[in-house]
Every structure is written in C-alpha cells, then in structure tokens.
Symmetry: C2
Subunit: 232 residues, 2 copies
C-alpha cells in the first residue's frame, strides 16, 4: 500500500498505555514511522523496544517525550487516560500546530464506567478542540477497539467510527484506520464524538452483563465490500 508522505510519521502520545501501544504496533507493522510519546521517555523507549522485538526489528519505532514526539510527527494521536487529557494537550499545543490531532480519549469517570458521563464541552474530543482553538483540526477515533485485540494478528470484529472538525481530517484519519487493519466510517462532525466515546461505556456494560471482554460494534445494512465506507 502506498502511504501518502504526509502520513509517514505518527506520534502516539501516551503510547506506553495498552491502547496506544496496540495502535503503535499496528502502524509500525504497516510501515509507518511511529514515535511513542510519554511523560517518562524511558518508558516510551522501553515500549518502542517491545514493539521492535515483536515485529523482528524491521520497522521504525522510537520512544521520546510527548512533546518531542508531537514535534517530529505529521499526525498526532492522543491515547492518554482522561485524567491526563487536558494537561497533555496543553503541553503539546505548539507542537501540534498545523497538524491533525486524533483523540482516542474516553472520559470514563471511575467507578461508574458503565455510565456515560461527558465533560461540559460535550465530549473529550470537543474539549480537545476547545483547548486547541478553531484553527486546529481534531478528529476522534478508535475508542471502541479492545486493546487486547490490537496486539493479535486476527481480524478485529469492531468498526471504527471517525468524527472530526473537517471532512479532510476525517479522511486522513480513515487512512490510519485502514493502515491498522480496521474498517472505518466517516461518522460526521466532531459533535458526534459523544456517541462514540459514550459507546465505550455501553460496551463495558454489555461486557459485564454477558461475562465477555471484547464487545464491539459493526455497521450493518451497507455492503461490506463497498468502497464507500473509506474514501481513499
């Protein structure tokens, strides 16, 4: 697959966490240059070495601080826990200027993680957009994917719904979805992120009720082999 040059380097902020590391693994495997960011650059380097080990070394993954990773990347993916969301965005504000920020954050408020509880902005992604200002492109994606499945080669039975501040940014993000081996859908404006972030609480509730671990969702009623769902 030809990767557009503008997408060649991806920063995964908070990439030492399970979800971020899983995404970093998939993108490294797909041939992207991946920079794992963390508040603790030693942990980031250790996570990068793990991924290099798993993939036999023939990929590009490096660890650094969140700021350095954001500075060097063309697209910046945010996978920190909600408690570190605002602080992390403020810390990379200058570094992400002119780039797309892909927000993976779910504003779970323990202990009631099966109850949808959104911040006053409406959703974590809208909060990110408010912090960065109207000139920045923010998208939201990957919230419903179980991190356990990302590190396995089997196909993942869960679609990715992508919302964002512009259609162009959503289409760039859909390229990352496809590169991670997943099926993505343009789910509309950033205001719709409340649905996808909140769906995580619904899926946790269904997991608990059914004794499962990996409840997900799929879009139905549209031919899966259609090219429509991802506009590359």
């Amino acid at each position: 697959m030809a990767i557009s040059p503008i997408l060649s380097t991806i920063a995964v902020l908070g990439g030492t966490g399970k979800e971020g590391k899983g995404l970093a693994y998939r993108w490294a495997k797909a041939g992207f240059r991946v920079l794992i960011g963390s508040r603790n650059p030693e942990k980031a380097r250790a996570a990068a070495l793990d991924i290099l080990g798993l993939l036999g070394g023939k990929v590009f993954v490096e660890g650094s601080t969140n700021i350095r990773a954001a500075e060097l990347a063309e697209i910046v993916v945010l996978t920190v826990p909600y408690s570190a969301h605002r602080e992390t965005i403020e810390s990379v504000r200058e570094a992400v200027h002119g780039k797309i920020l892909v927000d993976v954050t779910v504003p779970l408020m323990p202990p009631k993680v099966t109850r949808v509880q959104m911040p006053p902005a409406g959703s974590a992604a809208q909060e990110a957009s408010a912090i960065l200002g109207p000139d920045m492109q923010v998208t939201s994606a990957f919230q419903n994917i179980s991190h356990e499945l990302l590190m396995h080669p089997e196909p993942i039975e869960c679609d990715v719904l992508v919302t964002g501040t512009s259609q162009a940014a959503r289409l760039e993000t859909l390229k990352l979805v496809q590169a991670a081996g997943l099926v993505g859908w343009d789910a509309g404006p950033i205001e719709n992120s409340v649905v996808i972030e909140g769906l995580t609480s619904v899926l946790i509730h269904i997991n608990r009720e059914t004794g499962s671990r990996n409840a997900g969702i799929k879009i139905t009623g549209i031919r899966r082999d259609s090219e429509h769902h991802i506009a590359l």
Copy 2:
C-alpha cells in the same frame, strides 16, 4: 412464546407515524393487543385498519387518542416526532402512572439531522424521565431501526440497545424487542440513551455518505447464540 400478562396490551403513542406503525405491526403479529394512539383518533383508527388488513384480521389492533391508549395499556411506547415529545408526555402523565414508558424519540433538529444535538437534560429519554418524575420507569429503545424494515418479514440486521431507569424496566423492554423479532441488549442506565439517540444521526450521516438507506449497528465480540443478550 408465552407472553407475560403484564405485557399483553401495548399502547403506541404517535403510532400513525412510520416508526410507530412498523412497531405496532410487529407486536400485533406477535400476539399482543396493540392500541395505536394519535392526537387524531380517526387517523389512529385508519392506521389500525391498515395493520389489520396486512395481517389478515386475526390480530388485535385498535386506534384511539393518545390518552385513551395510554390509559388502557400496561406498557406505553412513545414514537412521536421530537417537536411533540414534551407535550405528548405531559398529556399522558396521569395515564402512564405506574407503567413503563418506552421512549423511541430521537431529538433530531432539522436541518442538521446528521449532527448530534441533545436537549439540556442530556437526551430525549432523560427529558421524559425529568417530566414524569423519579417514581416513573422510563426506558429508551428502537431509535436505530429503519421503519422501512419493520414492515417487511425479513430478519432485520440491526440490534436494539435498551437503556432505562431500572434493570427491571430494561428487561421488560427487552421482551418487547424480542417480540418484534429483533435482538436487544441491556445498554445500561438512562444516561446512556444519549449514545443510542445520537447514533441515529451518525447512521443518517453514514447513509448519506454511502448512498444507502438502512445503515444499522450490530454488537460484535459476543456469541450471537448466547442467551446472555436477552434475559427472558
């Protein structure tokens, strides 16, 4: 299937609309007594006659006012457009006392129907709950089912996510889901209704992007033959 007596009569308020009529058709076919309610009882009776005609007359469907339908039923399903939501609930407030109100309403705000726009209460279902007070059981369901599919005998490839003010009310509502020939899931507390109501805007967006009409969702990652998803 044995129907519990407490569920034998269902009122479908706004049942002259497409979604309500489709649900009324399915429940009548499943052996429930169905009362179609409307502000205009003549229209309600005409809708009931339509359904009787389609099903060969061997079912129980009657039309009346919304208030009369709500008074006579054991469970009350609300399928009015959002613009009539508050007024209809206030008009049947006494009649629904001690019953479950199943809210099917999606707060679409034309012309931007692909953008999630929730009322201050958080969702239409939470608004219904606030109007009726803390003693009333409110659930929310069926928002993502295309009305076109309800009137056809083919299996519908779209699951129903049920939220509600109590688990008992959600389980009663899941019986109605199964009676309509659909697969339902307990999706947690009424606060989670924002996800399911908002998903309707996401599905409309996906329909427009792909030129489709019947985008829906399915829960994945859990065995479909599991008995867990519906606790009958």
